[in-house]
């Protein structure tokens, strides 16, 4: 049946259904009462980068290779490599600053990092009162333990750990092989030497 005002009345019916339904069906309401309730962020969720260390903050995975600094699209990363007294590079950052007011959370630094050292956090509560200095994350702010990483992203962390373990084992095996080879060589050489 078609009568003038039918669409208007049907519209009223729809809103009435939603009005009543919102009291009875909790899933109709999408709002989260934020400070009391928090949504569990998905594994892939990302906010800002942080640096992973394994045992202690003195020994981050980062080697200050500056690949992320170069690849970062908005150029928000600043790295200075640590050097010892003689000026020899120490393979770790002395300064590692990320200006999160510039960072656009694109994850490219994470993807290009060859050492699995920079990872995306999922902490979305980073508001600060200051506009400039407060939003620059320095090295101590950025360093977080591997346990933390395992906690926020269990699946990925396990993959990374496995990969690093495999790499380390391969490296160790290679080293061992090299040592063994050297030993074998050394073992093989003296008789030759002694022969001469």
């Amino acid at each position: 049946m078609n009568y003038p005002g039918k669409g208007l009345v049907e519209g009223l019916a729809v809103t009435a259904r939603n009005f009543v339904g919102s009291y009875f069906y909790k899933d109709r309401l999408t709002t989260v009462q934020y400070p009391e309730e928090r949504i569990q962020t998905p594994e892939n969720s990302r906010t800002f980068p942080f640096l992973v260390f394994d045992e202690s903050p003195d020994k981050p995975r980062c080697t200050a290779c500056k690949i992320c600094e170069v690849e970062c699209p908005p150029k928000c990363i600043y790295i200075v490599m640590d050097r010892d007294d003689k000026g020899k590079p120490l393979q770790r950052p002395k300064a590692f600053d990320i200006d999160i007011s510039v960072c656009m959370q694109c994850q490219i630094c994470v993807e290009v990092c060859p050492f699995e050292s920079i990872k995306m956090d999922n902490d979305y509560e980073k508001s600060k009162y200051g506009r400039f200095n407060d939003l620059v994350q320095r090295l101590p702010d950025l360093l977080k333990s591997n346990d933390y990483y395992r906690q926020i992203k269990p699946v990925k962390a396990a993959e990374v750990d496995a990969k690093l373990k495999a790499e380390a084992e391969a490296k160790a095996a290679k080293k061992a092989a090299a040592v063994a080879a050297a030993a074998a060589k050394a073992a093989a050489t003296p008789p030759a030497g002694s022969a001469t």
Partner: protein, 380 residues
């Protein structure tokens, strides 16, 4: 051209003055920082000059100073409602230029992402349009509720709700696991219910009909001459959809219709979007049924030090707002020599004055709403 407000005769001996008002850039319904210089005779629009550039971010120039991959997250910020299709257009252009073959599973995932972003874009576009009509937030919030589910899916897959940065040259960044596919299937299954409810609320509403029908008619000839694309062009009767024309990705294998209107007024532009959403649901059902197993990333593409042989290429997709194209010129280095975007919002905006003149100021607002612009894309 806008003449200075002058005294013109408007019937009989009474002379009235034209009123020049500036709608925007802080006006509540200009969809961002857009400005319209409107010359009014009473409430009737006599001339309208769109003023853009308040959100100019130098996107193209920035991209020419950056690695090929570095521009990918910036394309998210063009039309921030559709970062997935923006990604795809850019990836498509680069893949064309570099001759990269994309694995099949990745193509399917790309279709899923593009169609889901079309769904959420159209839903919020018609929500905003009805908001401009004066519906006090209800249709918009219903649309946003549905959009929220799709954004949750995007977050689960890519890590971010709007700035997805998900596509990579030769594939996509993250594979979809079974949970994610189930999530997508659930969204697709629930979407028609939302559409039915939304249509019941608004489509046959007499006020909507009175406001939208025969308002802001865009003739077919003008749409073609103005290079208008997307739902705006199809509402005017232009049979043009790049998914059908180019058959990029796996669109050639999918069955779907492209709705085409006849009148080209605001109502057609509204209803074409509704129909397109229904078609998108059909596409998604097929894709989610047929998605093959396999890798999601072509192996030959390196993340770092990616170089493209010299040449130029144009990649385009049917974005939610129209033809989104990237024209790239490579010198063989790690950066584009020239990087140019064909933004659908900006080009669709060029016919705004032709549609608005002669209508009331309230109509000008909903005509702007019916074009569905995003200022990030207009100003770049």
């Amino acid at each position: 051209m806008i003449a200075a407000p002058s005294t013109i005769p408007a019937g009989g001996a009474i002379t009235t003055q034209l009123l020049e008002i500036s709608i925007g850039p802080q006006h509540p319904s200009t969809h961002g920082v857009f400005r319209m210089d409107v010359v009014l005779d009473g409430e009737v629009v006599r001339a309208l000059k769109p003023v853009v550039g308040y959100l100019h971010r130098n996107h193209e120039q920035l991209a020419e100073k950056m690695s090929w991959l570095g521009s990918m997250p910036y394309t998210d910020r063009l039309d921030y409602f559709n970062s997935m299709s923006n990604n795809w257009a850019y990836a498509l252009a680069v893949e064309k230029l570099a001759g990269i073959k994309v694995p099949e599973r990745a193509e399917y995932i790309r279709v899923i992402m593009a169609e889901l972003s079309r769904l959420q874009n159209h839903a919020s576009a018609i929500g905003f349009l009805l908001q401009d009509c004066g519906a006090w937030g209800t249709p918009l919030l219903y649309a946003f509720k549905e959009r929220e589910k799709i954004l949750d899916f995007f977050e689960t897959v890519s890590g971010s709700r709007m700035m997805c940065n998900y596509f990579r040259f030769g594939g996509v960044r993250v594979d979809l696991n079974d949970e994610m596919l189930a999530m997508a299937r659930k969204i697709v299954a629930e979407f028609p219910k939302f559409l039915d409810e939304f249509e019941k609320l608004m489509t046959t509403n007499e006020v909507v009909l009175a406001r939208c029908q025969r308002v802001g008619i865009l003739p077919k000839e003008l749409a073609i001459a103005g290079s208008i694309s997307g739902p705006v062009a199809r509402a005017s009767g232009v049979e043009y959809d790049i998914r059908k024309v180019d058959k990029y990705g796996v669109y050639g294998q999918l069955e779907f219709g492209v709705p085409v209107g006849a009148v080209g007024d605001v109502y057609d532009r509204y209803y074409i979007r509704v129909l397109e959403m229904r078609e998108s649901v059909k596409i998604l059902q097929q894709v989610l049924r047929d998605i093959p197993a396999g890798p999601v990333q072509a192996v030959e593409v390196k993340l770092r030090g990616f170089k493209i042989p010299a040449g130029d290429g144009y990649g385009r997709v049917e974005g939610a707002k129209g033809e989104l194209g990237f024209y790239l010129v490579s010198e063989g280095g790690p950066k584009p020599y020239r990087y140019h975007i064909r933004p659908p919002s900006f080009i669709n905006l060029t016919v705004l004055e032709d549609m608005c003149v002669g209508h009331k100021v309230a109509d000008a607002i909903i005509i702007l709403g019916s074009i569905d612009i995003v200022l990030g894309e207009v100003d770049r």
